[in-house]
């Protein structure tokens, strides 16, 4: 028999449900989960949003909300069933033996308290019997050591800093330091890098991996991103439909998936789009561009105290051509001005200088009013939760563009709405649904349909898939691709993710601090990037 070490944490037949406060109906979230975490390993749990990953982590930490109830099973930590412990004993365990870091580092920190104070509180909240007379100075030394451990070069400055003075990555590292201060044996990391940009993400993950090894710390790592999982985890469990459908060594899971859902997740992570390989013939060299932007500059003016103005230049002499019927990708790291460009082009942001030509005709006025009448530009936002009015039904939202522009007689409008819903793959029955009754992917379909109602020649999609699950991502990209091929509407696809660009774009433009630094056919840019920024971006994949 093979040697089986005693697990640090083992979950046995854990079932958990939510009870609705009004109807008192039990709603099962997790059903009969069982898995072990061994000493010193990084154990990953992957699943789509809403699969119960976070609730599982809260159950282990003993931080479940009032409405959640564990209906069956055991959580055994070092041979002790946590569920039979008193609340006080569990609280004591949390922090000392089990550390935790969350997705959004800013909301875990009190803005009025310095990082050092936060970390000191971790120590004072768990008085240690072995070192009863620890002075403030000793505590500070411990904290500074830990800050250095998590990769800060100047721990003294970080110790004094307040949360808002740190970047997202620094905050997350400070929180990791806090979670590790008491040398726990298990660290629960719930999507710790999802809110960070890709470069920082890599740094944090490397640090976590290193720390896990040097402290022989077990990590329960929760994420929806298989790419990260592959780098981080020794073993991987796939959570789907309230159960663990697969649990094995990471390599095994990723290279020979034993469950169809795992395979679907893997396909999603690759963003395979059917028919995308069939490249459209390149338009003739002299083709008239649909849009030609020349020397476009824009910025925001904020009025500070006593009328002093603060100008921030966001776009700096941007020039760009969008050809009819193409999908042009615009890629750049966060804050480089991609969204501002989208707002200027749609006319939502006034006060820019430069020239925009539409079919080689100068658009004299950037303001919204004139744009709409001539030729509307569609816009799809990143967050489908914010881009649909929560008080209106899908049918109403889709009809609104026709109504306000007096298009089509009233009796035909519903018919048009149904046709459009079919085109974007929304079943008819959703016509009277409210946005909160739809999933993220369905909302994004509605948002796209609203833009398509006015039959625009260009749709700007601003990070249309980055807040969606991987499997849904590829569905939405497939839809964008199909609509582009079917109706010939051009897309400007804004994203920070080169995989998205590679999946459906014909050409790509690379943006860096307000400038377009490189444009070209997708293959050329990926395989022989000219600029250092592009190289950095291509290394992600």
């Amino acid at each position: 028999m093979a040697y089986e070490p005693t697990p640090l944490l083992s979950i046995r037949n854990l079932s958990l449900s939510f009870s609705d406060p009004v109807t008192r109906k039990e709603n099962s979230i997790l059903s009969r989960l069982s898995f072990d975490i061994r000493d010193g390993e990084v154990f990953g749990i992957v699943g789509e949003s809403g699969s119960g990953k976070t609730i599982l982590s809260l159950a282990i930490a003993g931080l479940l909300p009032e409405t959640a109830k564990i209906t069956a099973g055991e959580i055994i930590f070092r041979g002790q069933n946590l569920l039979s412990l008193s609340p006080k004993a569990r609280r004591d365990l949390l922090g000392r033996e089990i550390g935790m870091i969350f997705q959004e580092p800013l909301s875990s920190l009190n803005p009025l308290i310095s990082v050092g104070k936060h970390l000191e509180e971790v120590i004072t909240a768990h008085p240690d019997a072995s070192t009863p007379k620890e002075t403030r100075g000793m505590r500070k030394t411990r904290i500074l050591e830990m800050l250095a451990h998590v990769g800060f070069h100047d721990p003294g400055r970080i110790y004094r800093a307040f949360p808002h003075q740190l970047s997202g990555g620094q905050r997350q590292r400070a929180l990791i330091a806090g979670a590790l201060l008491l040398k726990p044996s298990l660290l629960i990391a719930d999507e710790p890098t999802t809110a960070l940009d890709t470069v920082t993400q890599t740094q944090i993950l490397d640090q976590l991996r290193r720390i896990s090894q040097s402290f022989s710390l077990s990590v329960l790592f929760i994420s929806h991103d298989l790419k990260i999982m592959e780098k981080m985890c020794d073993r991987l469990a796939v959570l789907h439909n309230r159960r663990i459908v697969e649990c094995d060594a990471t390599y095994e899971v990723l290279h020979s998936p034993g469950h169809p859902h795992t395979a679907a997740l893997l396909r999603g992570a690759r963003l395979d789009i059917r028919g995308a390989e069939v490249a459209r013939p390149a338009p003739p060299a002299g083709a008239v561009p649909l849009y030609r932007i020349e020397a476009l500059s824009a910025g925001y003016t904020t009025t500070a105290f006593r009328g002093a103005t603060n100008e921030a230049q966001v776009l700096d002499q941007v020039s760009l051509r969008i050809l009819p019927g193409e999908i042009l990708g615009l890629i750049g790291s966060s804050g480089c001005g991609k969204t501002t460009l989208a707002r200027v082009m749609t006319g939502l942001l006034p006060g820019s200088t430069g020239r925009i030509y539409e079919n080689e005709e100068l658009v004299a006025d950037f303001s919204l009013k004139k744009r709409i009448r001539k030729s509307p530009v569609g816009l799809v936002f990143q967050d489908p939760y914010n881009s649909l009015n929560p008080y209106k039904t899908v049918g109403w939202l889709l009809e609104e563009p026709l109504r306000v522009n007096h298009l089509h007689p009233q009796k035909d409008r519903r018919e048009r709405v149904l046709t459009m819903m079919a085109q974007v793959g929304l079943p008819k029955r959703y016509i009277d649904s409210y946005p909160h009754q739809l999933s993220g992917g369905q909302r994004q379909r509605v948002a796209l349909a609203i833009s398509l109602m006015l039959s625009p020649s260009l749709i700007i999609a601003d990070e249309p898939v980055s807040s969606l699950d991987v499997t849904v991502q590829s569905q939405i990209l497939q839809l964008l691709h199909d609509i582009n091929r079917r109706s010939g509407v051009a897309f400007l696809l804004i994203t920070h993710d080169l995989r998205v660009i590679r999946a459906i774009c014909d050409r790509v433009a690379v943006m860096d601090s307000g400038k377009i630094v490189e444009t070209g056919r997708i293959g050329d840019v990926i395989h022989s990037p000219k600029m250092p920024v592009t190289k950095l971006l291509t290394e992600q994949i």
Binding site: R373, Y391, N405, Y434
Partner: protein
């Protein structure tokens, strides 16, 4: 309130409030077609008479039937509080929406007006408006309406400022919706959860303000009865004939407390409804 009673369900508040307010509204309506006795007829025989089978609520210092006067007196309270709130709401909507939607200079100017109204004690300002517009119902309705408007203007302004940069509003502008339609059709439904309880509480506060003004002799004019001026008239006889004051007070209490219950119920309903 919540900490003491801790109802989990909003319907208990809605039912209680509905019953209380319903009683007062029913009386105000019935007074149009039926009154148990002539509320104006003085009678020296029944001066300060205690409650009896003939006069359920007793009689006042002029021998007038208190029950009839209370029923009739609830009419101005209801009319003024409902119409007054309508005026306040309309004014608040205009000022607040303009300030919130356009921002900048209009916002500063309109909020300056609103803040200066708010800086005065409400009753004092209402007295001034009543003096200018004239005593009687129209004066009261407009006076109180103006005094109450700023608090609604604030709700509209903050609500619109929060919502107008939401992406769904940007999208609405992009597909060509004009500002008035954006305000009325796209934005206002989002304000209802904050607005509805504030309106109901406003009705209660307005009823109290009306009673206060009438008590001071600046509201509904004697001999026309109102809950407020009955309190004023009855206070000299408090020791001998407390019923003159007690019954109108209970009436006002029903209306105000009922409205507070309703507003709590509405607030909780929107909270648990969770759009």
């Amino acid at each position: 309130m919540q900490r003491i009673i801790r109802f989990r369900n909003h319907s208990i508040f809605l039912i209680l409030g509905g019953v209380f307010v319903g009683i007062v509204l029913f009386c105000a309506l019935i007074s149009i077609i039926y009154l148990p006795d002539d509320p104006m007829a003085t009678n020296s025989m029944t001066k300060l008479a205690a409650p009896s089978a003939d006069h359920l609520f007793g009689c006042d210092h002029e021998g007038r039937d208190v029950l009839s006067r209370v029923i009739l007196g609830s009419r101005p309270t209801v009319i003024i509080s409902l119409l007054g709130i309508l005026i306040a709401l309309l004014l608040g909507m205009l000022l607040g929406s303009a300030a919130g939607y356009f921002g900048g200079a209009p916002d500063h100017f309109l909020m300056l007006i609103s803040d200066s109204i708010m800086a005065f004690p409400g009753i004092l300002l209402a007295l001034v408006f009543v003096a200018v517009i004239g005593k009687g119902l129209p004066g009261l309705i407009f006076g109180l309406g103006i005094v109450f408007a700023p608090s609604y203007a604030r709700i509209f302004r903050t609500g619109i400022r929060q919502l107008k940069d939401r992406e769904y509003i940007l999208l609405a502008r992009l597909i060509g919706v004009k500002p008035p339609r954006i305000l009325f059709v796209h934005l206002f439904p989002g304000l209802v959860p904050q607005l509805a309880p504030a309106i109901v509480v406003g009705i209660a506060n307005m009823a109290m303000a009306e009673a206060g003004l009438s008590y001071l002799g600046q509201g509904v004019q004697i001999p026309q009865p109102s809950l407020g001026n009955m309190l004023m008239e009855g206070q000299s006889y408090l020791v001998y004939a407390p019923w003159i004051i007690i019954f109108p007070s209970i009436y006002l209490l029903f209306y105000v407390l009922g409205m507070y219950f309703l507003s709590e119920g509405v607030r909780m309903k929107f909270k648990t409804g969770g759009v």
